[in-house]
Amino acid sequence: MKLFRIVKKEALNPTVGKMVIEAPLIAKKAEPGQFVILRSNEDSERIPLTIGDYDREKGTITIIYQIVGGGTMELDRKKEGESLHDFVGPLGVASHLEGLKKVAVVGGGVGCAIAYPIAKKLHELGSEVHSIVGFRNKDLVILEEDFKAVSDKLVMMTDDGSYGEKGLVTHALENLIGEGNQYDEIIAIGPVIMMKFVTEVAKKHNIKIVVSMNPIMIDGTGMCGGCRLTVGGETKFACVDGPDFDGTLVDFDEAMKRGGMYKEFEQHAREAECNLLKKEVE
């Protein structure tokens, strides 16, 4: 049996963790915008996570996860040196980043984990990169130094103004466009509601907008159809047609509703996992 060893683990903030996983075959092929599906243990749920970074020489994949439900709590309980039971990828179509002169990369919350490799790749390809990253407050800020290293301009936003500028990423984007920055493309990754509003801004200024969708998914290989979205009036599957789509065509309201399908179950799973932790502490 193959082992997917956790080479390194760190907490980026109280609710976001980062792991570097040994997966040489996937590391050889991974590109920004693609994702993996993992299971922590033999009886775990399958969780899709976007590839945060990859190192072809070392044969590792970096994942960044927000601890939101039973599945991610289980993942976070794994320690450095232990292994994940299953790790499959790279799935999905890689982001198309070639030939762009100037790009605004907009990341929200843990979505920044996906936005970062895209900004990095654009930087490597010689594009001018303006990164706008938003968080609820100072404590939740992640990847600041990483973004700095690959961006020609970095705007940090927090909802409460406790770090960077106060306000939403859409305000910062409006300001940059207002200052005369002409972008070939805007790439937005974060909560669905954020991508919806970034798309509104892009539409208003007639700029191409690409969003990265992260719907509920099981197999991730084009079999179950759980990840379907309505894009331009057609049914599309995020796992094989995406996860990147033209923002102007995505039905965001529907995607938000579908994303909440198992809220009650997740709540229950989270409580069960917390109880388990409590017991261990006692």
């Binding site: 092929k29 499959v88 084009g222 049914t235 094989v240 509703k257 579908r258 909440g260």
Partner: protein, 462 residues
């Protein structure tokens, strides 16, 4: 003296009102005495019409004769010469259209219960035999098989028996393909599938899970790695939807998703970490085996009313007869000659009903079945909270989009040359649902079998 009872020896089953609340196997299998008794109904016809109707050409009269003579191991040997997965086929083959459909005893009564006997022989062997499979002498040739469903497993088994070093690549975390994610436990216990897979491993077959060919490794790279031929048995792919309003509401599942959550992820168990909606009123759209599996699973999750909504009549249902009978016994309600035109949702985006029209049958269409046409002014609303779409699939795009030179038809199915499964790429063979579109386990196995033979000839003549 043959047993001249016109009826098959009855199969012991769980009571309908007990079994529709659990996921344990419905049919319990023949006892030793019942099997011998049923085997004696076979007339041992010289021209063997049953064998000619079997996609993998099992020598049926010979194995049944062994059962009648109480030589169960001998019977198993005969079946094994033709089939790699007898315990599976005995349970899920549509025998009424194949072997049993051609049985001479069926002319004036019921055919011999060939499927039930095949199942008995395989189960008896599994429970009693301690003999390990003999690992054949290696011929030092490597073959890659993509997909560990019935087609891939059959090809792998046959090639391994010929001495090939076979690696099977599976995208999911568990091998078995549709046998583990699609067909429910109550029809095909997963421990039986696991045992069949273990048998292949004993033959020296390597199974690598979590490997999505086309993504992590391409077919071209498999050749670079020293594989001399590749068999693509990647199965059916994305579920089809009808394109009616409301299909994205919460509570609308594809049968693939619904069954994968239940079978692969075990969401029917209390302790499962994968959720599933336990609907009260469930409509399954479609009339095939997959639709029956989904409907019967929904019932077992506790639904009060489960409907099969199908646009043609009872006679036209494509599902196996036995599955339809079992579903009816378990309380599934058949709304035939009915077609949904819209899924209705509440203010939270959850399914609350399904608008349907009644149909009537007109002139036969190109499939030979009478074409359903809408009855005027027949609209009505069915109160449901869960809808499961089971109207077929279209082939998986991952391999065709990453394999230059591999021709596919307008539906996305891989184009092959006749029975051998040879594709437009040298050294690449394909079969099963990836070629035919959604079909049956046994047809996929038949394709795997033919391709294994063709691959052997191809490598020998290279």
């Amino acid at each position: 003296m043959p047993n001249m009872d016109p009826k098959k020896t009855a199969m012991p089953v769980q009571e309908p009102n007990v079994r529709n609340k659990n996921f344990n196997e419905v049919a319990l299998g023949y006892t030793y005495e019942q099997a011998v008794n049923e085997a004696k109904r076979c007339l041992n016809c010289k021209n063997k019409p049953c064998q000619s109707a079997c996609p993998v050409a099992i020598d049926i009269p010979s194995f049944i004769e062994r059962v009648a003579n109480e030589d169960m191991e001998g019977a198993y040997k005969i079946i094994s010469e033709s089939s790699s997965l007898p315990a599976v086929c005995g349970r899920v083959c549509p025998q009424e259209n194949q072997c049993e459909g051609k049985c001479v005893r069926g002319i004036k009564g019921e055919p011999v219960g060939i499927g039930r006997l095949e199942r008995f022989v395989a189960d008896y062997h599994r429970e009693h035999s301690t003999a390990k499979a003999e690992v054949p002498e290696s011929n030092d040739h490597k073959v890659a098989v993509i997909g560990s469903g019935p087609s891939g497993l059959t090809a792998a088994g046959d090639l391994a028996k010929l001495g090939y070093k076979v690696t099977v690549f599976e995208a999911l975390h568990l091998a078995g393909g549709v046998l583990v994610y699609g067909i429910p436990e109550f029809r095909l216990p997963k421990s039986i599938v696991q045992k069949e897979i273990d048998n292949l491993k004993d033959l020296g077959v390597d199974i690598e899970t979590n490997m999505v060919i086309g993504k992590v490794i391409t077919i071209d790279e498999l050749f670079d790695m020293g594989y001399e031929a590749v068999y693509v048995g990647s199965g059916a792919g994305l579920p089809r939807f009808m394109g009616i309003p409301g299909e994205s509401l919460n509570g609308v599942y594809s049968a693939n998703e619904f069954l994968t959550r239940i079978n692969l992820m075990k969401s029917y168990r209390e302790d499962s970490k994968t959720p599933i909606q336990h609907g009260k009123n469930v409509a399954v759209v479609g009339g095939g085996n997959v639709a029956m599996d989904a409907a019967r699973s929904a019932k077992r999750l506790g639904a009060e009313n489960v409907y099969i909504v199908y646009r043609r009549g009872m006679e036209e249902l494509p599902a196996r007869k036995e599955e339809v009978e079992h579903a009816e016994e378990e309380g599934i309600i058949f709304k035939t000659l009915t077609n949904p035109i819209e899924v209705l949702g509440d203010e939270n985006g959850k399914v609350k009903g399904m608008k349907c029209v009644e149909m009537e049958l007109g002139e036969p269409d190109e499939s030979g079945r009478r074409r359903p046409v809408v009855k005027p002014n027949s609209e009505f609303v069915l109160d449901i909270d869960t809808m499961i779409m089971s109207i077929g699939t279209s082939p998986n795009p991952l391999i065709r989009s990453t394999t230059p030179g591999l021709e596919t038809n307008k539906h996305g199915c891989i184009v092959t040359n006749g029975d051998d499964g040879l594709t437009t790429r040298e050294g690449v063979f394909a079969g099963g649902d990836a070629v035919t579109g959604a079909a049956t386990v046994i047809l996929a196995m038949g394709a795997g079998k033919h391709a294994a033979k063709a691959i052997d000839e191809y490598i020998k003549n290279k």
